[in-house]
Subunit: 157 residues, 2 copies
């Protein structure tokens, strides 16, 4: 299956658990899936438990090595600075993402982690893959949150 | 005990395990230690297992909450972009660090994560605490690595 489709499945599963719907998958040089994960920050009580971090760590565990050269990280949303830097530390060869994230992204926005001269390993980056589908998932989730918030009298964010 | 002394203990213990000697501790608003950790990237086969990440996640587990408002992260080395962003996600109030890291740091150097307009939560930052002692630990470790490398015929890095 196309990695971005797997990432989308993980994102939908995250939404079903009440988590921000972001999904990620790590594939090796032959396209085999090493690990897949969705966001679990609330469930794990871990603000760092983004889909990318969980997938990278699980892929390294699966390989028994702390680094993943030749591998691709595919994720439904532009990685934040934490996940972008983690992908660099794991020596990921290629980062593919769906929706751009002007508010929280750290690849094409914000801290632009890979643009820093001190970033020792810069993966190839491909953004905007199935952008509409990936972005719609997030918009639907946050629209529902705001609606529920309004219903509870909490007002829109 | 002064948190930076605890972080230094963790850094020394990391060196003893053959890990890059960085140590971190999370304390709450009253100065109580919630969690302490040293770098374990090689042992855990996890390139993201920096001292800060391990301490932040352990502190959140200890509290049973995904965020740590009012808490301080104290670390022997300027946090990298991954750890700096993680501290922000965990809503850490204050980041205190020892040695500055022009090569890998992400607070005062490189991606300067907290300087991005899109960084939603910016902790107070205090750098250079026991800077000499924290830096010496790293210099000694890397000098020994280069020496051992040269002895093995691998040459200096």
């Amino acid at each position: 299956m196309d990695p971005i489709k797997i990432a989308l499945e993980e994102a939908r599963a995250a939404a079903g658990r009440g988590e921000v719907p972001v999904g990620a998958v790590v594939t090796d040089g032959r396209g085999r899936v090493l690990a897949r994960a969705g966001n679990r920050t609330e469930e794990l009580r871990d603000a760092s438990a983004h889909a990318e971090m969980l997938a990278l760590r699980a892929a390294a565990r699966a390989r028994g090595e702390p680094r993943l050269p030749g591998c691709t990280l595919t994720v439904t949303l532009e990685p934040c600075p934490m996940c972008a830097q983690a992908a660099s530390f794991f020596r990921i060869a290629r980062v593919v993402f769906g929706a751009y994230d002007p508010k929280g992204g750290g690849v094409d926005h914000g801290a632009r982690v890979y643009a820093a001269a001190s970033c020792h390993h810069v993966p190839e980056v491909v953004g905007g893959v199935r952008e509409g589908e990936c972005g719609a998932l997030l918009r639907t989730f946050f629209a529902a949150l705001r609606r529920d918030g309004a219903n509870c009298g909490a007002g829109a964010a």
